[in-house]
């Protein structure tokens, strides 16, 4: 009869962390709880690519292209790589797609679990640190080619502004100001954002700047997908403000993407920035 009773580890007080609970109760469910055989696993699974994020007065926007690649093959053309982490934050992922999605699920559960156990949400820095811990525990796999590099953004209710955090594979956590991007096309996207970003962007302008940046990334990086006009596949965009996070409706992104494309018909390199 004791078998059917909830195990003692469920009743044990102490941790409010779901990942810590899994570590003690069923480590096999953790992405980091597996041991890989020797070798390089990078070519076995699809990779997600470019994520961009930028702040605007009153919030933060994150956008991701829709392509996943396996070597020279396009593994998926409508993959989603930006996810809400909780009500006031979202996470975008570049790197090994399957592992990244699993890590996002763990992170989402981690935040919700803390909120339910403690009756309050983690601070913005607390969330960013938890994500760093999850990435750090994945270092072994990263060294075998299964790296996951997230970009984390959210609205900090205490500070009253949007914030962006980037990570490296060892779990290093770096706060970014204004804008940032990760993934294979990130160099081109960041270059574009340098020229397009202004501090007084409105929400719509900020979304447009990010769609422009993703276009530039897709222009020069084969692993980043541009807007797919025939299939009407456009970037996933999340906006987070003091009212919470929300995915920008597909129709709105389509409209912005269409206007970006119309501009590129005249000037394929995108809007020209002033020289001085």
């Amino acid at each position: 009869m004791d078998d059917s009773r909830l195990p003692a580890s469920y009743m044990a007080p102490g941790t409010s962390s779901f990942a810590d609970f899994l570590t003690s109760h069923s480590p096999a469910l953790l992405p980091s709880g597996r041991t890989l055989p020797q070798g390089h696993a990078a070519d076995l699974a699809p990779h997600g690519t470019t994520i961009v994020a930028a702040t605007f007065p009153g919030g933060v926007v994150m956008a991701g292209d829709r392509r996943a690649t396996m070597g020279n093959i396009i593994a998926q053309r409508d993959i989603e790589k930006v996810f809400p982490a909780d009500e006031y934050s979202c996470v975008g992922i570049a790197g090994s797609a399957g592992l990244a999605v699993e890590l996002v699920r763990l992170f989402q559960t981690e935040l919700e679990h803390y909120e339910k156990i403690e009756g309050m949400t983690l601070s913005m820095d607390g969330k960013a640190n938890r994500l760093a811990a999850l990435i750090r525990s994945n270092l072994g796999m990263a060294m075998q080619g299964l790296a996951v590099v997230p970009l984390f953004a959210g609205f900090d209710l205490d500070a009253g502004q949007g914030r962006i955090f980037s990570y490296d594979v060892t779990g290093g956590r770096y706060e970014e100001t204004a804008f940032h991007s990760v993934g294979s096309g990130s160099l081109f996207a960041r270059g574009a954002l340098k020229k397009l970003y202004r501090e007084d962007l409105s929400r719509e302008e900020c979304v447009t700047a990010l769609v422009q940046a993703l276009y530039d990334a897709a222009d020069d990086d084969s692993a980043t997908g541009g807007p797919d006009l025939t299939r009407r596949i456009f970037p996933v965009v999340h906006v987070i403000t003091v009212e919470g996070g929300q995915r920008v409706p597909e129709t709105e992104v389509a409209e912005i993407a269409d206007s970006v494309l119309a501009g590129r018909m005249n000037r394929p390199d995108g809007p020209a920035a002033a020289l001085t």
Binding site: M1, L6, Y10, P13, F18, H25, S26, L106, T109, H113
Partner: protein
């Protein structure tokens, strides 16, 4: 040569049951009421931090009376079980029935094992479906019994008095405001057993109210109604309602049947998790 002292199994179980029942009856009642958009929970609980009603998962909520440390243990176990299942399978695979079964097994085992003190708790596990007919309220008792409740359910404190009021006044498919009025009035009735004859009006700041609301757009349907919202919903509680900001003494002339306000704070939770709440 001492004779082993014989206690019949019937007596042993009865003693344990009496012990648990007494602990549960000492606290204040929690009511769960089905309304048009879901299930409403209400309880008199001056503490803003120590909750009797909590979220377990998307469509599942937990309410408890009895010893705080014991039901808090069960609540955390429930959150862990639900999150674990949702993570290992899918969010849709987390069900109230599964959780109620796990609680029933746990409480039953603890109650009938000789070595452990029986839990002095009673629990509701409630789950909302896509329509009112799919809503479920499970009642779990200290000895692990599960019963399926319909329309409304009461546990702890003077539960019979509260249930009698709900029996008279409950209507199906009520609006949130109507359901809240009935639930709060029923809780106010619970003082009848200690001599006073009228209904108490519990100030909004002493109420803990939460709903599982299927009209919420988020997947997580649980939400707490904060005092400001409660006051807006309960605004027309009639002449017995004390002014929200006035000190308790201000209401004395309004209705002599009001129980003294001091009573409301006597059994407030002390944070130590020791006494029944």
């Amino acid at each position: 040569m001492s004779m082993p002292f014989y206690v019949s199994p019937e007596q042993l179980m009865k003693d344990r049951a009496d012990f648990a029942r007494k602990g549960i009856a000492r606290g204040r009642s929690v009511v769960a009421v089905q309304y048009a958009d879901g299930i409403l929970f209400a309880s008199e609980n001056p503490s803003q931090a120590l909750h009797k009603v909590s979220e377990i998962y998307d469509r599942i909520a937990f309410a408890a009376v009895g010893r705080y440390n014991e039901f808090e243990n069960l609540r955390i176990a429930g959150v862990r079980l639900a999150d674990m299942r949702g993570y290992a399978y899918d969010r849709r695979d987390v069900t109230g029935r599964g959780l109620a079964n796990a609680y029933a097994q746990t409480l039953g085992t603890i109650f009938s094992s000789g070595g452990e003190k029986p839990y002095e708790v009673e629990i509701f596990v409630a789950e909302i479906g896509d329509s009112a007919v799919d809503d479920q309220i499970y009642r779990l008792t200290y000895q692990g019994q599960v019963t399926d409740e319909h329309q409304y359910a009461v546990m702890g404190g003077a539960d019979e008095v509260v249930a009698a009021y709900l029996h008279e006044h409950y209507t199906e498919n009520a609006s949130l405001s109507d359901a809240l009025h009935v639930a709060v009035a029923a809780l106010g009735r619970s003082s009848e057993d200690n001599g006073s004859t009228g209904d108490r009006v519990i100030p909004a700041s002493d109420l803990e109210v939460a709903v599982l609301d299927r009209t919420r757009t988020q997947p997580r349907k649980f939400s707490r109604l904060m005092p400001a919202r409660l006051e807006a919903l309960l605004g027309d509680r009639g002449p017995t309602t004390p002014a929200p900001t006035a000190p308790p003494a201000a209401s004395e002339a309004e209705d002599q049947s009001d129980t003294p306000p001091a009573q409301g704070s006597q059994t407030g939770q002390d944070g130590g998790g020791d006494g029944p709440v």
